[in-house]
């Protein structure tokens, strides 16, 4: 897999640097609403968690889900319905929404892992579109094109109508989600995921039930996406069809790639860049959101495949000939001649040809 060449080893920085980065990250997370409009700050963290959830699949397992809007969106609806109907504190509503997202993800994952590579992306995209049509048709529950409106911010009777305070109420939940993702990546389970990304056949030969691992990480990822989507719905007070539409799936993919896939924290940066840009365009009254998104896609994929965080890591990599780079790990670009540089996998895919 070429993706794996872009994802470099995780032990790049010394302990000191890592602590400094962690402190900076936390300071940013807690300080953001002081210098950014609080709802936008919350959007950044929510989309950040969403992108990190996607990265568990894309960067760490080598599976591109192009249908993650289904989980972000279904949780947004479920969270909204729970909050409206029950009046429970919003933490519980969001948890409920995330569970719903995970439940929807289970059958989708079990079917999607039957195909790999590019097919996986197409199949997940198609299933997400199914979820979109269901949300569109099921008007009595989702409100159809009007969306679900008037989602309350109930939190033990506290007044959270001020977005500044709501940010701090919601932040711990999102940070917990991020910690959970970190925990998954640095667990034995996470190492198996990387093994599956690097060489599925060998992982299988070593006795790991590859498909079961893929389903498990898919459901985990959907749960985290649901957590993010639920908070987003509470923050905005509504859930709309936009949340389950394929452009949302595309948006989270571009965040992940722009930030750097397989870097865990990179996608948060990607989310920060995209959300800030969109906010800037909206404020400036420039209506060219998708042109911009498309252009970022094209430029990132053509010229900047490591992403922001991946590039930083690459620049600060140890240059003393460490064993990790010995295998030509730096050489990202194979020969651009398509007919010369086909991987065996590519040939197998092509062998099913016309």
């Amino acid at each position: 897999m070429i993706i794996s060449r872009l994802v470099e080893g995780s032990r790049r920085f010394s302990t000191g640097v890592r602590i400094a980065l962690l402190v900076t990250g936390l300071l940013l997370a807690f300080g953001m609403p002081w210098f950014i409009y609080p709802p936008v700050a919350l959007d950044i963290v929510a989309w950040g968690l969403f992108a990190v959830a996607l990265d568990l699949l894309l960067g760490y397992t080598g599976l591109l889900s192009f249908g993650h809007a289904a989980f972000w969106g279904s949780s947004a609806y479920a969270t909204g319905i729970i909050a409206i109907e029950s009046g429970l504190p919003f933490y519980l509503a969001v948890l409920g929404g995330a569970v719903v997202a995970a439940l929807i993800a289970l059958p989708i994952a079990m079917l999607s892992v039957r195909r790999t590579g590019i097919y996986f992306a197409m199949v997940t995209l198609a299933f997400a579109q199914l979820v979109f049509y269901i949300a569109n048709q099921w008007r009595s529950v989702t409100g159809g094109e009007n969306g679900l409106q008037g989602i309350p911010r109930e939190f033990f009777g506290l007044d959270l109508s001020d977005s500044f305070f709501f940010y701090y109420a919601a932040l711990p939940l999102l940070l917990l989600g991020l910690c959970f993702a970190w925990r998954v990546v640095h667990s034995p389970f996470g190492r198996v995921l990387v093994a599956i990304r690097e060489n599925p056949a060998r992982a299988r030969a070593l006795g790991y039930p590859v498909d079961r691992y893929k389903v498990q990480v898919f459901v985990l990822s959907a749960f985290l996406a649901g957590l993010a989507g639920g908070v987003y719905a509470i923050s905005h007070g509504f859930a709309s069809l936009q949340e389950v539409y394929w452009t949302t799936s595309g948006k989270v993919v571009v965040m992940t790639i722009l930030g750097g896939m397989g870097t865990l924290w990179g996608p948060v940066l990607g989310a920060g860049v995209i959300v800030t840009l969109e906010d800037f365009l909206a404020t400036a009254g420039i209506d060219a959101n998708r042109v911009l998104m498309g252009a970022i896609f094209v430029i990132t994929v053509l010229l900047f495949r490591r992403g922001v965080w991946g590039t930083v890591r690459h620049l600060f990599r140890p240059r003393d000939g460490g064993s990790e780079d010995a295998g030509g790990g730096d050489r990202e670009e194979p020969d651009p001649d398509p007919s010369d540089a086909r991987s065996p996998e590519r040939d197998r895919a092509a062998a099913r040809g016309t």
């Binding site: 498309g294 094209v298 651009p336 010369d340 996998e345 092509a350 016309t354």
Partner: protein
Amino acid sequence: MDALLQQLFNGLVSGSFYALLALGLSVIFGMLGVVNFAHGAFYMLGAFGALVLLDSFGLNWWLALLLVPIGLGLAGMVVERLFVHRLVALDPLYNFLLTFGIALILQDLIRLKYGVASQPYDRPDVLGGSVNLGLFSYPKYQVFVLIFSIVISVLVWLVLNRTRVGMIVRASTERAELTKSFGIDVRRWITPVFGFGIALAGLAGVLAAPMRAVNSGMGGDLIIVIFAVVVIGGLGSVFGSVAAGYIVGMLSAVGNLYVPALSQSLVFILMALVLLLRPAGLFGREEGVLA
């Protein structure tokens, strides 16, 4: 009964668009291993191409049917040379993402120029009115679309299977290295085949202009349905993609008659069933070793 037959016929007509689009997607995938997300956007450009030719140059639909696919085919070749080509050697996901970006740009540029409202396009005079098909009468234009799409599909199949060019394309699809060792320059065929696939999308767009809503979003949702169609048919198989196109068209139309709430979802439910029972697709060959 008549209603069912008529609905099946409607399904075949909408299936014609699925089939033409799936055909182009399949041919491109076969030759380059690229799943072209921008296929729906080029279909949309095909319809707008017909519109622009009529409004700005006074060229009628028949000329558009000839000129627009040629123009878009050339544009496709440029896109292949400038962008797609650079990523072909990498993981196919990169080209999927690249073409997704291109699709977003094209779709939004058209939206900025024309808005989201549908543009009117009159059907050509000769194909106005309806024709009696025995059991029911049917708009002449729709009948033409169906026949035309079948003719194109058969022609493409014949070219691939009965000509020397087709043989080279199939050989480079299956074993590029081996084909090269026979002294055939595989690279020469990649760009034209990409352009040809795009031309087919443009052709479908021109066919759609007089009977479907012409707007910037017409290709966006459609391409996802086409993805489901090719998963059902087996993306590597040209015949499978075309057959699945007509099948899905008829299924949605019949579904529309009996369970209207589900009509848009049926194709995805069928895809789920196919994945469950025959993951390689109805007409696809099983993958040897899972990667």
